[in-house]
Subunit: 581 residues, 2 copies
């Protein structure tokens, strides 16, 4: 057996029989193993001199590492799967079903909770944060629930269309199973499975062998690996997993937290410039302290901060909810002078405000840099907060490298205008503080037109970061929220598309645009830093493509950083083999 | 004076004075003129041998011809402009203000009506058709009101955000002017002006000189000129204005007509395959007769028919309206067994159905070929209707050339699958009829990915038609409905964009994609027919670009066909001059 393993240079499964005192070896194949075992075997074989480091790197499938980085359901356990949704945020969770976010926020303090909602919106954030996991009946891989859950490292099954929620009765049904509030369920955000009862969980471990393998990967890879992190906690996790910087810090997620959302709403609904400025003045110190925490956590590594991106109406209650409240109050016939009447008047004003802001296609509307051009006060506050935080730390002798990212640029003039304006704010803050920090200004490439005109955009950008979630949406003309629920799965089943392009980068279409973008930009600005911060940044096949077109780094969720380090190494190895041919 | 005109070879304005019996010529410049005069002068100067035909072609600005093709407000009249919106559909109209479509549909039979709505939806079509013009407070150049009005040749001012409509009081206010129902207003869909009272109108005339100039243009131009027409009336108008074919016939506009919409809604809300097929069976003869009318009107010229494109929920009442009705009925507490209770139940079902179909970003959702892949029955009915119509006429000895256009293709496999399926239907119908007609299958290029992978798409397409409205939306990441109301005008004012890219093609971005598409497709299929059917097909600068990248034809609204003929000739002349250099 030892001789066979040496020969095949791998752990082998042997089948043998002993007949008439003779040993017959019937079959011999590479042994099946868990990701943990694969890592241990690969590292041990290098230590035994059987294979070299490069071969060890190639022996482990990066995507299998996901098992090692989140709690998992014990594969030996018998579970009862009652429904299946989208695997929206990896990891498994067990808890009691709660249907209201406000209740989840309370119950979650003392007991494990799974929040079950038709879909989520900013009002649900508190309840989500207090829960162990989230299950939604509607929405795709970029629905509010999915994005927020991934950001918070919270397991989530989204768009589970086969469950029917009855909020009034506080039950949901899945086929013929009725689940009541308070019943235990388990969800697996890596597979999309929803199970009845408490499935046994296995906690993640990063072993010494795993660390060793990753250090070998780091020696080989050409791509840098950064993480997407929106708060100090995620930034610390990213640092721990070996991220060389933050590739995407989404500043608006900070706006959704419970103590801040009312101030953000005041800012949005302000009727005068003065009221708006007052609200912004309240947000400034809060954002500054967020940035201080992130800079501290990253210990001098670069932090790319994306300025506010979503349309403002995303921070307000949903139009339909307010409409229903208004119609209901009117139908009941409220009397002037009563509290109901005041409520009606207030809700009518809110309805008018939302009515004026809502959009036919919010993904393609007043958001990103467009918003900042129309309402420059918000980004000016954000840039002030970034540089006040940076200067404070710099004065304490700490290293900081903020990189300001302006989102959704389609025309170079958008970037030119905002950069001039915001670099002015940055310089003013540094002058006020009597301090100089190293900084960069750049843009996300997420609109086809920006990629097509990258030679012009590069004149005003020190870095590009491919926002491949939105770039995939615009290049395909897919709204991910709609497509994943309504036809994308059918497309993959019918083999119209080989894979879901939001999971693995579409090289023929989106990739062609990225390659064109790189080829046009580099001659204009040879030292431009090129990265990717869409979810593809954590997908091994997409990472390989990023290596091939010569990006400088990939950025992904903290929990995928080890996967990206290994995948980047494998891409470099494959490239070397190609070249040696 | 004659000598001067001969010298400058143009009609001149002369300033002179006579002092001491001597004539002093003080100033001499090219005379200002209306479009009608410009055409007449240019043609007469050729006839007098002063200039040649090519120079005559260059003497007239194509966009000025618009004046000659629609009723206009007499420029000498004194009018009181009370508001300004988007010039959504050219021409001027005068009528009495009516706020409800149902009422407009009645009053419009006997009196001139201007329909004034916050925005329009399919329920308003009847009222719109009975009106002389439409004014909306919300919506952009591709809002429902704008698109339908242009299709019907109905003057429209859309997105007039400065008017405040009070539907309950039946008034609208513009600044401090209050307009009541029944008051006369005038609108100018070419400028966006809204005026109080009855402005005097000038009717369009196509003079003999105009015909002569256009015939010279036809001798010179390389680009074909087709028209966008959705019904026999528009097709006849297009033919009259010299269209060489239909470049875009939108089949779903036929679904919006009052006698058809209920059947379309039955089809969409059908609970069984059988119910759906029953509804489709009712639509089949209606669509067939539409196509017969269009084929007849075009007298053997090619007709490009686009299969159903919009998301199905566009044919249903708006979610918010049904929601409000349901909440209202519930709050009033209806009693089982009463008609109100039945209404509530029926509206609740409708609400559920719409809820299941509505989308976060309908522009990027389940529409176009995606819809046809998920629900193939609708397009199968449409192709059957097209070929039954074509065979019927062919048997009468008439020439027909249907070109079936599959919209919203992003991946070649979508086209491949649908073409195989639908060509099967076409062949079956021809076999049933014992008749063979000449036909083509092709696709619209309106998704960046289709342009980027045009070499692959061309393998299954006999023609491409650039849908530059949607291609501009996806390339810029702009939702036109949202952008034009919320930031696009500001972008143009601030010179971030040189012009509105929905009016004049963006050569650097969208144009680069089009050029790439052409360069990749032609080698794969040298005889591929390439056209454009977005609104840019009627814009002179965009037509010049289409000539430069070597398209075969442009297609525009019937009223812009003469403009396109002249602009195409000017592009060919400019190109010849370039080459001679």
């Amino acid at each position: 057996a030892k001789r066979l393993e040496n020969h095949y240079r791998d752990a082998m499964d042997l089948e043998f029989t002993i007949e008439k005192n003779r040993l017959f070896i019937l079959q011999c194949r590479v042994g099946k193993r868990t990701a943990g075992a694969a890592v241990r075997i690969a590292v041990e074989m290098v230590q035994e001199g059987l294979i070299d480091k490069v071969e060890a790197i190639n022996r482990v499938r990066p995507q299998d590492l996901d098992q090692l980085l989140h709690p998992q359901i014990d594969p030996k356990a018998e579970v009862k799967v009652i429904a299946k949704g989208l695997p929206a945020s990896p990891g498994a969770a067990v808890g009691k079903v709660i249907f209201e976010s406000a209740e989840a926020a309370v119950v979650g303090l003392s007991e494990p909770v799974i929040l079950v909602r038709p879909e989520t919106n900013p009002d649900d954030i508190r309840g989500m944060l207090a829960s162990k996991g989230v299950l939604t009946a509607r929405g795709g891989m970029t629905s509010h629930a999915a994005v927020v859950a991934r950001g918070f490292g919270l397991p989530c099954v989204a768009g589970c269309e086969s469950i029917v929620i009855d909020e009034a009765a506080k039950t949901f049904t899945a086929g013929d199973v009725v689940v009541h509030e308070g019943d235990f369920i388990s969800i697996d955000g890596s597979t999309g499975n929803v199970m009845l009862g408490q499935a046994p969980l296995i906690e993640p471990t990063i072993t010494a062998e795993f660390q060793t393998l990753l250090s070998w990967a780091d020696e080989v890879r050409k791509l840098g690996v950064r993480a997407n992190a929106d708060n100090p906690k995620d930034a610390r996790k990213a640092f721990e997993f070996g991220a060389e910087g933050i590739g995407l810090c989404r500043t608006e997620h900070m706006f959704f937290e419970k103590d801040r959302l009312p101030v953000v709403q005041d800012m949005i609904l302000a009727k005068t410039k003065e009221d708006r400025q007052n609200a912004l003045n309240k947000l400034l110190p809060v954002q500054q302290s967020d940035f201080e925490g992130i800079f501290e956590a990253m210990q001098g590594r670069p932090v790319t901060i994306r300025l506010i991106d979503p349309p403002l109406h995303e921070f307000l209650p949903r139009y339909e909810h307010v409409l229903a409240r208004v119609v209901d109050l009117r139908a009941r016939g409220v009397v002037p002078g009563t509290p109901s009447y005041e409520l009606l008047e207030q809700q009518e004003h809110l309805l008018d405000a939302i009515e004026g802001m809502r959009e036919a296609n919010p993904m393609l509307g007043l958001r990103g840099c467009r918003l900042s051009i129309v309402f420059p006060e918000i980004v000016e506050m954000q840039v002030r907060a970034i540089f006040q935080a940076a200067c404070k730390l710099a004065k304490q002798g700490k290293e900081v490298h903020p990189e300001i990212m302006i989102p959704l640029v389609g025309h170079v003039n958008e970037l030119k205008l905002l950069r001039e304006q915001l670099e002015g704010v940055a310089k003013q803050v540094m002058q006020e503080a009597g301090c100089q920090v190293d900084y960069k200004f750049g843009t996300m490439i997420e609109i086809p037109r920006a990629a097509l005109t990258s030679d012009k955009v590069a004149e005003f950008a020190e870095f590009f970061s491919f926002g491949t979630n939105d770039l995939t949406q615009t290049t395909f003309g897919f709204s991910r929220d709609d497509a994943e629920g309504k036809f994308l799965q059918k497309y993959v089943d019918m083999k119209i598309l080989p894979v879901n392009p939001f999971e693995t980068l579409d090289r023929d279409g989106v990739g062609k645009l990225m390659r064109l973008c790189v080829e046009q930009a580099r001659p204009v600005r040879p030292d431009i830093k090129l990265g990717i911060c869409g979810e593809h940044g954590g997908d091994p096949s997409s990472i390989e493509f990023c290596h091939q077109i010569g990006l400088n780094y990939v950025s992904c969720s903290p929990y995928r950083v080890p996967i990206a380090r290994l995948a980047a190494a494998q891409a470099a190895v494959a490239d070397g083999v190609e070249r040696d041919k």
